[in-house]
């Protein structure tokens, strides 16, 4: 009897395996499209679409579990009667080629959306999902997952974890669905030998040495527990925040949202949940105009402290997963790494 926790998949068998998986579920993987963008996309024709495992997917898995805009309920108003209908149900989905940082982010979202009771639409999608990750042998340009403890390989959380050993994948199974899958398609795999183990370990060590950015995340988290951030840091950063919301939208762990009604006619409409950004001034403004947040000075305070101070205090680790997506896109050049650099290089007064 072979151990179903760890197996080897020859690269030749990848497409055949995915083809089987696709029979029972929607299959989503990073696809490089005609515009040169690598996006998680649904695979209709597995032979025609190019799965791209060499570039970082532009967006994380967040849009699939907490979409930019989703319908929470439909409503009707008839003769003063007001009623609501629940949204469509999720379908079984397998995600392939997910990076460690993005799965870590998903595990964080699981936590956020489990209290006080499980968020219905989020958990509906989550319960219908299986995540197959790909450990990172080579970090991307802006990555710093080592510093946030969310990569380059993972210990848990995945359905299956693939590690690229060159001509083959080292596959580890998580509990439940992942293990079942290996059992069902065992004939595609072979057992792990000592050579495979060694190579995996070697690659892991090498991967850790290849980060180009040295971001002092742990130091920053520690420092935030101990002392207040100097006002001038908030002001320097906030002056450069041009209110696009991009950092929050591309962030795999930014879960802030808004709920609004969208009328579709005089007597019906939909209640939608959509991404929101705590960096925007309307985020905290109350009806009547009063706003407890002074954006000109603290536009970024809430976001950075939430990630690095409060979540660290609550969960023992920051909710930044080091995916680096927010790094090059900030209009003012004031992303979370700028903050960490400012904070950790600043002399204590």
């Amino acid at each position: 009897m072979i151990d179903l926790k760890e197996l080897i998949l020859s690269k030749d068998n990848l497409i055949p395996l995915l083809r089987k998986l696709k029979k029972d579920a929607r299959l989503i993987a990073p696809i490089k499209n005609e515009y040169g963008d690598t996006l998680f996309s649904e695979i209709d024709d597995i032979d025609a679409m190019k799965i791209d495992l060499h570039n970082q997917p532009q967006a994380s898995l967040k849009p699939f579990f907490l979409p930019q805009q989703e319908t929470l309920a439909g409503y009707t108003v008839n003769n003063g009667e007001y009623s609501f209908t629940p949204p469509d149900k999720a379908q079984d989905t397998i995600f392939f080629g997910v990076r460690s940082c993005d799965l870590t982010a998903l595990l964080y979202m699981d936590l956020i959306f489990s209290k006080p009771s499980k968020d219905a639409t989020y958990y509906d999608r989550r319960n219908h999902s299986l995540i197959i990750t790909l450990g990172c042998n080579q970090p991307f340009a802006n990555c710093f997952c080592e510093a946030t403890g969310s990569g380059p390989y993972l210990e848990y959380g995945y359905g299956l974890q693939f590690i690229d050993l060159g001509d083959r994948y080292f596959v580890s199974a998580g509990r439940g669905k992942g293990a079942d899958l290996l059992k069902k398609w065992a004939y595609f795999f072979r057992e792990v030998n000592e050579e495979d183990q060694k190579k995996r370990y070697q690659l892991f060590l090498e991967a850790r040495g290849q980060f180009t950015r040295n971001i002092q995340v742990a130091h920053a988290c520690q420092k935030l527990q101990e002392e207040a951030v100097p006002e001038e840091i908030w002001e320097t950063l906030s002056r450069r925040c041009y209110d696009c919301g991009g950092c929050a939208y591309v962030c795999p762990t930014c879960t802030c949202y808004s709920i609004d009604d969208m009328a579709q006619g005089t007597n019906h409409g939909i209640r939608v949940r959509s991404w929101d950004a705590c960096t925007s001034s309307g985020f905290t403004r109350m009806a009547g105009g009063h706003n407890p947040t002074d954006r000109s000075r603290y536009a970024l305070k809430r976001r950075f402290l939430h990630k690095l101070k409060h979540d660290y205090a609550h969960h023992g680790k920051p909710s930044c997963t080091g995916c680096g997506r927010c790094v090059d896109i900030c209009f003012g050049g004031v992303d979370i790494t700028t903050f960490i650099d400012l904070l950790t290089t600043q002399k204590t007064t």
Partner: protein
């Protein structure tokens, strides 16, 4: 799994016009088989057709169930639309959410309520609850005093309620910022009324109103010797979910909708809140 965001329809049974800006909407759930209970200080997410939702604190006492009162001031789109509604119309509610006032702590205490404007709404729930239990040996408060400030005589809300309370032994002191010719009562801010009252070891203060008022009253109460643990307020923040996930009411590591909206001063002092800012 229940969809956390689908409200239950409720009917507006009665609308009490409090003043030009504030009305109290008396609601009843359409489906009476839905179990519903709450404690003073908790709030609901109110849905008004096409307007979305807003967090509104319940102004009636749980002892008045199945009646649920929401006292609402015209402030934005939703509240203005609410004021256009008529008795018999339906709205949606979900909740209750948030931490209530620690009612058990109020037994045998001298309760001092300080409110400004619509801020009386959540405190009204507490006062009604206390009065309901005033004959019970185990649940009654020692005494109840209310200091209530309004901008002008025509802005005074809950007029019949306060006179009713007066009859039931509540020491009600009303004041207005600007008097008109008919006004016989106090003129000035609530902060002017407060020093005329005794604060003892047995005083528990409940404060609700505009942030500036809260700030000054809390400072005064502390100066008068009131303990941090015996001063309570309820914070108002923009909220979207009520269940601690949307992030809007995030306050220095806490969620006002889950960890509040009722906070004691000792809790507030550990947080960075504008109500205490200098």
């Amino acid at each position: 799994m229940n969809n956390n965001f689908i409200p239950s329809p409720a009917k507006i049974c009665e609308i009490i016009h409090e003043n030009e800006q504030i009305s109290t909407f008396r609601l009843k759930l359409i489906n009476t088989s839905i179990p519903f209970s709450f404690l003073p200080g908790q709030f609901l997410m109110l849905s008004v057709p096409h307007c979305g939702e807003a967090a509104i604190s319940i102004s009636s006492s749980p002892t008045a169930l199945p009646i649920i009162d929401l006292s609402i001031r015209k402030a934005g789109t939703l509240t203005n639309a609410m004021h256009m509604m008529k008795a018999g119309n339906q709205v949606g509610i979900r909740g209750p959410y948030g931490n209530p006032f620690p009612m058990k702590n109020f037994v045998n205490r001298d309760l001092l309520f300080v409110a400004g404007g619509i801020g009386l709404a959540p405190l009204k729930s507490v006062i009604d609850y206390c009065l309901f239990h005033s004959n019970s040996v185990h649940d009654a408060a020692q005494s109840i005093t209310l200091l209530y400030g309004s901008r002008s005589p025509s802005d005074i809300a809950f007029q019949s309620v306060t006179s009713n309370w007066q009859e039931q032994g509540v020491n009600c002191r009303l004041t207005v910022d600007e008097a008109d010719t008919d006004w016989q009562g106090n003129v000035g801010l609530v902060t002017d009324l407060l020093p005329r009252h005794n604060v003892t070891d047995n005083t528990t203060a409940l404060v609700c109103g505009p942030p500036v008022m809260i700030r000054f009253i809390i400072a005064q109460l502390s100066a008068m010797g009131c303990q941090d643990e015996a001063i309570f307020t309820t914070l108002e923040r923009h909220m979207k979910c009520g269940v601690g996930t949307c992030g809007h009411c995030h306050l220095d590591g806490k969620m006002v909708c889950m960890d509040g909206p009722v906070f004691s001063l000792s809790q507030l002092k550990t947080m960075d809140v504008m109500e205490l800012a200098q």
